[in-house]
C-alpha cells in the first residue's frame, strides 16, 4: 500500500477491567459520576495509605490472558512506574514491568486486504500486565486553572502488548476488532472506545521492501476509534515515507493523533521521555498463581468468538458471513442464542438480528446492549410471521420499530396497531376489485403482458389495508380477476 516500503506495526492496547471496585481500594469502578465522588484516601494517594490488590482484577487479567492464548505466569509482581503528573496522585503508577501476569499469546483472525482479498492472519501477544488508571485533568475549564477528577484514578487496567507482527492498516484494525471481541466475550471489559475503556497506541516504522532491518519507530497515542487507528496508520506511514524520500531520518518519538485534523503532532522525543525508575512495589506482595487457580479460571472462561462461530456454522448451518456478524459481539451472540430457545426458525432469527436489528441500531446510534426488548420478544415476532398472523415486511418495519421504541411485546403491538394480516378472501376480493376499477391504465398494461405492474397494484392494496393484506392471497386474486 506504500510504494517501495514495508510497514511494521505493533500495538499497545489499554483496556479498563469491569470489576466492581477499583484495583487497590474499595471505591466503585464506574464510568462518569460527579467529579471526585468515587474516591478515598487510598486512591487519592494520601500520606500513609497503602494499596490492597483486588483479586477480581487479577482474575480478569488472567481471563484476558486465556482469551488471547497467553501463558499465565506462576509468580507476578507489581512494580512502581515513577513520574510526576497532577492526575497521578502518588506520583507513581502501580504497574508490572519485570514479571507480568500473562506472556506469549496468539490471536488468529481473518481480514480483507486493500485489494479486497480475504487473508488469514495471526498476531503474537508479547505480554498482558495489570496496572491502575490515572485521573483526568481538565484544563482551562475554570478560568486559567486546571481541574482534577480522580474518579478514574485506580480503575484497573490491563495493557496488552503485541509483537510488531502487523503490516497494514486493514490487518491492524481487523486484529484490533478480533482482540476487542475476545476481551468482550471473556467478560473482562465493556471495551467502549468512546468512554475510553479501550485505547490503543500504535507503534509504526517503515523499511524498504525486502529489507531485514526495521526502521525507526514512532508511537502514536490518542486513538479513540477503529477508524482513527486506520486513518492514523495510513497517515503516519505516508508521513514517514515522505520524510525518507526527502532524505530526512525518522526520529523516535511519541506523536499525538488529532482525528479532526487527520494528522499527528509530535509530543516528545525519546530524549525527552521520562526515566520511569521502575522498581518492585514494596507495599504489595508477589502474586502467586497456582495451577488450581489457573484451572478454575480457565474453566470459567466463556466460549471465545472463533469457537462460537464454528459452532454456529456446524450446528445451525448458517453462512460464514452471518456467523461472523453474530459472533462479533457477545451481546449479539447471547441475544441470538437466547432467542433460539423460543423459536425453531434459526435462519429468520439470524436475519432479523444481523439485518434488521443492526440496521435500526446503526441508524439510531445505539449499542446492542441498549436493546430494550427480550430475545423471547424477537422469537415471538418471528413465530407470528411464520404462522401468518402478520406479513414479514410489517414485522421488519412497523412492529420491530415499535419494539425498539419500547411499545411492548409483538402481539400487543400488533393488537394495538391493528396489524393483523387480512387473509379473508371475500374481504380482500372487494379491495382487489376496487383497485382494478380505480387503475384502468396499469390494468391494461398488465393484460398486455407487463407482469411487473402487479407490484404497483399490490402496493395499492397494501395502501388500502395499511399493509395488512396477505400478499400470497392478493396475488392469487389479481391473477383470477385479470384473466
Amino acid at each position: 500500500m506504500l510504494k517501495g516500503y514495508d510497514i511494521t506495526i505493533g500495538l499497545e492496547v489499554h483496556c479498563e477491567l469491569n470489576t466492581q471496585t477499583k484495583v487497590f481500594c474499595n471505591c466503585k469502578n464506574e464510568f462518569g459520576g460527579e467529579p471526585n465522588t468515587h474516591t478515598c484516601p487510598v486512591c487519592l494517594g494520601m500520606p500513609g495509605m497503602l494499596p490492597v490488590l483486588n483479586k477480581q482484577a487479577v482474575e480478569k487479567c488472567i481471563l484476558a490472558g486465556f482469551a488471547t492464548g497467553c501463558s499465565i505466569n506462576d509468580i507476578a509482581h507489581m512494580d512502581r512506574k515513577n513520574y510526576f503528573y497532577p492526575d497521578s496522585p502518588k506520583a507513581y503508577q502501580i504497574s508490572q514491568l519485570y514479571h507480568p501476569l500473562c506472556s506469549e499469546g496468539l490471536i488468529k483472525f481473518s481480514f480483507t486486504d486493500d485489494e479486497g482479498t480475504e487473508q488469514q492472519s495471526q498476531v503474537r501477544i508479547e505480554r498482558i500486565h495489570l496496572e491502575e488508571d490515572a485521573g483526568k485533568s481538565i484544563h482551562d475549564a475554570w478560568g486559567k486553572s486546571s481541574l482534577l477528577d480522580f474518579n478514574r484514578c485506580g480503575v484497573p487496567l490491563i495493557e496488552i502488548v503485541t509483537y510488531p507482527d502487523m503490516t497494514s492498516a486493514e490487518q491492524t484494525c481487523a486484529f484490533f476488532e478480533a482482540l476487542r471481541a475476545r476481551l468482550r466475550f471473556a467478560g473482562v471489559s465493556d471495551c467502549k472506545m468512546q468512554e475510553g475503556s479501550l485505547r490503543a497506541d500504535v507503534n509504526l516504522s517503515i523499511k524498504p521492501v525486502g529489507s531485514d532491518t526495521l526502521g525507526t519507530r514512532t508511537e502514536m497515542k490518542n486513538l479513540n476509534s477503529v477508524k482513527a487507528i486506520y486513518r492514523a496508520i495510513k497517515s503516519e506511514a505516508k508521513r514517514q515515507a515522505e520524510e525518507l524520500s526527502q532524505g530526512k531520518r525518522i526520529i523516535q518519538e511519541t506523536r499525538r493523533w488529532d482525528d479532526n485534523k487527520g494528522r499527528s503532532l509530535r509530543m516528545r522525543s525519546k530524549e525527552e521521555a521520562n526515566d520511569y525508575r521502575y522498581f518492585p512495589d514494596p507495599d504489595l506482595a508477589p502474586i502467586a498463581v497456582d495451577e488450581e487457580w489457573k484451572n478454575e479460571l480457565r474453566k470459567s472462561l466463556p466460549e471465545m468468538p472463533a469457537e462460537k462461530m464454528k459452532k454456529y456454522m456446524d450446528e445451525f448451518a448458517l453462512p460464514e458471513y452471518d456467523c461472523g456478524i453474530l459472533t462479533s459481539d457477545p451481546d449479539i451472540s447471547s441475544f441470538f442464542e437466547a432467542a433460539l430457545n423460543h423459536t425453531k426458525n434459526i435462519k429468520s432469527v439470524s436475519n432479523f438480528i444481523m439485518v434488521d436489528m443492526l440496521r435500526i441500531i446503526k441508524e439510531t446510534e445505539m449499542e446492542f446492549s441498549d436493546v430494550c426488548f427480550s430475545p423471547a420478544d424477537l422469537a415471538q415476532l418471528i413465530n407470528l410471521v411464520d404462522t401468518g398472523v402478520i406479513n414479514i415486511s410489517t414485522a421488519k418495519t412497523t412492529v420491530l420499530e415499535a419494539m425498539f421504541a419500547g411499545e411492548g411485546s409483538p402481539d400487543a403491538i400488533i393488537e394495538s396497531k391493528g396489524l393483523k394480516q387480512m387473509g379473508n378472501e371475500d374481504e380482500l376480493l372487494k379491495i382487489v376489485q376496487e383497485v382494478i376499477a380505480e387503475n384502468p391504465t396499469p390494468v391494461q398494461q398488465y393484460k398486455e403482458g407487463k407482469q411487473q405492474v402487479i407490484g404497483f397494484l399490490m402496493g395499492q392494496v397494501m395502501k388500502k389495508t395499511q399493509g395488512k393484506a396477505k400478499p400470497d392471497t392478493v396475488i392469487e386474486l389479481f391473477k383470477k380477476e385479470l384473466i
Binding site: 500520606p47 500513609g48 497503602l50 490492597v52 502518588k90
Partner: protein
C-alpha cells in the same frame, strides 16, 4: 500519689483498682510536658483539651467495663505519645516537615486505632527527624529535641521526640517507627527501652512511609513489660496492609515473666572498631549477668553484616524517593506561591518544602533507580539483602538470641555530625541489618558511660520472637536498675 514514679503497667493496675483515673494520669503528664518541654522540645503538637477529652471518654468506658465486672485491656487509661509520622484522625500530622506543615488526615493509622481500642489515651505528637530520615532529630523542620540526660546532646533519631518524652517522664509510653534503627538508637541515647518488632506484625496503614520494606512501628517504655503490653495493643493482622502477617498473635505481656534462659550469641561484628570501650564493657557486663541467670553465652560472627549499611542506604533511599514523590504541592501540604507553570510548581514546592537530609536521600534514591544504574545499585543491594537474611538464619540455627550494642557511641553533641552525613549514617551501624532482615530487636539500658550518658544494649531475635526478646530483657531488668534511672536524679534537665 506520685504518678510519675510509676511504670506504665503500674499505672494501668492502679486505674483498674480505681486508685487512679485516666483523667488524673493524663493531666499529670500534660503538666510535666508544660513544665519541661521548653527545655526538651520533645513534642510537636499537644492539645490539652483534646487529650483530656479523650481521657474522659476512656475513663467512662473503663468505669462501664469495671461495673460489668469485665477485665480491662492491659494498658487501659494509660497515655501514649505518638511520633508525628502516624496519622491520627483530625490531628495535624506533619512528619516534622514543612511540606506537610498543615496536613490533617481524615483517618487513623491502624496502630492508633488499635491503641484506642485498648483504651489508651493519645497525649500528642512527638518530634522526629523529617520523614524519619536521621539519627539525631536535628532534621526536624520545627524544633531541636534535646537529650534529657544532657540537653547539649541529641536524643538520637529519628524517633527522638518519643524517646526523650519517655526519658523525661513526659509520657509513660510512646510509639515510634524504626526503618534503620529509629526506635532502638534513640532509646539507647535516652536510656529507655524500645522494641522494633518483626516486619509485618504492626500494620503500616496510616504510617507515612519512608521506606516501605523496612518501616515498622514499635513501642517505647521505661521497661520491657511496658513495651510488651504496648506491642500487644498495637500489633495484629490488618487487611489494609498487604505486608501484614496473617497469623495467631500471642500476648508478649503474658509471657513477660517466662524467662526461657536462651542461648545468647555475642555478635562480634558490632564489637569492633568504632564502638566505644564503655559500650563494649556494658556488653561484657550483660554477658556476665545473663550467665549468672543461667544462659549459655557464646561469641558468634556474621561476616555478611558489613553489607547491611550500604544496602540499607540504597534500598531505603530508593523507596523513599518514590514514596515522597506524592508531596508535590498539588493537593495538600506546602505549595510555593508564584510558580510560573506546573514544572515550576513542583520544583519550588519540593525545594522549599523538604529539608536538606530528605533532599539528599531523594536524590540518592532517584539516582540508584535510574536506568543504567538500577542493576549496579538497587539489584545489588537486593542481593546483599538476601545474604544478610541468610546470615542471620544461620546464626539463629546456633543461638536463640544475639546480643550487641544498640549504638557504637552514646549520645553525641547537637551539631557535631550535621555537616558529615557519613558519620551520622554510622550511628545506625548496629541497627540497620535488623531492618534489612525484617527481624525483631530490642534496645534497653545497660549502664552509663563516663560522662553519665545512657548506654543501650541490643538483643536481636529470629522472626516473631518478640516474646522471647522481651522476657529476656525483663529478666535483666529484674536484676538491674539502669532502666529505672531518671535524668533529673542524674543531674540532667530539670
Amino acid at each position: 500519689m506520685n504518678i510519675l514514679g510509676l511504670s506504665a503497667i503500674e499505672i494501668a493496675e492502679k486505674i483498674a483498682a480505681k486508685e487512679l483515673t485516666a483523667v488524673e494520669v493524663t493531666r499529670a503528664y500534660l503538666d510535666v510536658i508544660s513544665q519541661t518541654d521548653d527545655a526538651i522540645n520533645a513534642w510537636l503538637y499537644v492539645d490539652d483539651a483534646y487529650a483530656l477529652n479523650n481521657a474522659e471518654k476512656v475513663q467512662k468506658e473503663i468505669d462501664s467495663l469495671l461495673s460489668q465486672g469485665k477485665k480491662l485491656p492491659a494498658l487501659a487509661g494509660v497515655p501514649v505519645g505518638i511520633k508525628d509520622n502516624m496519622c491520627v484522625n483530625s490531628v495535624k500530622t506533619t512528619c516534622a516537615s514543612k511540606i506537610l506543615y498543615n496536613f490533617v488526615p481524615p483517618y487513623d493509622a491502624t496502630a492508633i486505632k488499635n491503641a484506642q481500642k485498648n483504651l489508651m489515651v493519645i497525649l500528642g505528637k512527638t518530634n522526629m527527624d523529617e520523614f524519619a530520615m536521621g539519627s539525631s532529630t536535628e532534621h526536624s523542620a520545627f524544633k531541636q529535641t534535646k537529650n534529657p540526660w544532657n540537653t547539649r546532646c541529641v536524643p538520637g533519631g529519628s524517633s527522638g521526640g518519643s524517646a526523650a518524652a519517655v526519658a523525661a517522664l513526659q509520657a509513660p509510653l510512646a510509639l515510634g517507627s524504626d526503618t534503620g534503627g529509629s526506635i532502638r538508637q534513640p532509646a539507647a541515647f535516652c536510656g529507655v527501652t524500645g522494641l522494633k518488632p518483626t516486619y509485618g506484625t504492626v500494620s503500616r496503614y496510616g504510617l507515612v512511609a519512608f521506606a516501605s520494606s523496612l518501616d515498622q512501628i514499635g513501642p517505647f517504655a521505661k521497661d520491657a513489660a511496658g513495651c510488651a503490653a504496648l506491642f500487644d495493643a498495637i500489633k495484629g493482622h490488618d487487611e489494609k496492609d498487604s505486608t501484614s502477617y496473617k497469623m495467631e498473635y500471642e500476648s508478649s505481656y503474658e509471657e513477660i515473666d517466662n524467662f526461657k534462659k536462651p542461648t545468647i550469641g555475642i555478635l562480634t561484628e558490632y564489637m569492633g572498631e568504632g564502638v566505644t570501650n564503655d559500650i563494649k564493657q556494658a556488653v561484657i557486663d550483660a554477658k556476665a549477668k545473663y550467665e549468672s541467670l543461667g544462659c549459655d553465652v557464646i561469641e558468634i560472627s556474621i561476616p555478611v553484616l558489613t553489607l547491611a549499611l550500604p544496602a540499607y542506604y540504597i534500598l531505603s533511599s530508593a523507596e523513599a524517593s518514590s514514596n515522597l514523590s506524592r508531596f508535590d504541592g498539588v493537593r495538600y501540604g506546602y505549595r510555593s506561591e508564584g510558580a510560573d507553570d506546573l514544572q515550576d510548581l513542583y520544583i519550588r514546592s519540593r525545594s522549599e518544602g523538604f529539608g536538606t537530609e530528605v533532599k539528599r536521600r531523594i536524590m540518592l534514591g532517584t539516582f540508584t533507580l535510574c536506568s543504567g544504574y538500577y542493576d549496579e545499585y538497587y539489584n545489588k543491594a537486593l542481593k546483599a539483602r538476601s545474604l544478610v537474611v541468610k546470615g542471620y538464619e544461620d546464626a539463629f540455627s546456633k543461638v536463640d538470641i544475639l546480643l550487641c550494642p544498640a549504638t557504637p557511641t552514646t549520645a553525641f553533641k547537637i551539631g557535631e555530625k550535621t555537616d558529615d552525613a557519613m558519620s551520622m549514617y554510622l550511628a545506625d551501624l548496629c541497627t540497620v541489618s535488623v531492618n534489612i532482615a525484617g527481624l525483631p530487636a530490642i534496645s534497653f539500658p545497660g549502664g552509663f558511660d563516663e560522662s553519665g550518658l545512657p548506654i543501650g544494649l541490643q538483643l536481636i531475635g529470629s522472626k516473631f520472637s518478640e516474646s522471647l526478646l522481651l522476657s529476656t530483657v525483663n529478666a535483666f531488668q529484674n536484676e538491674t536498675n539502669y532502666h529505672k534511672a531518671c535524668p533529673a536524679e542524674k543531674g540532667g534537665a530539670k
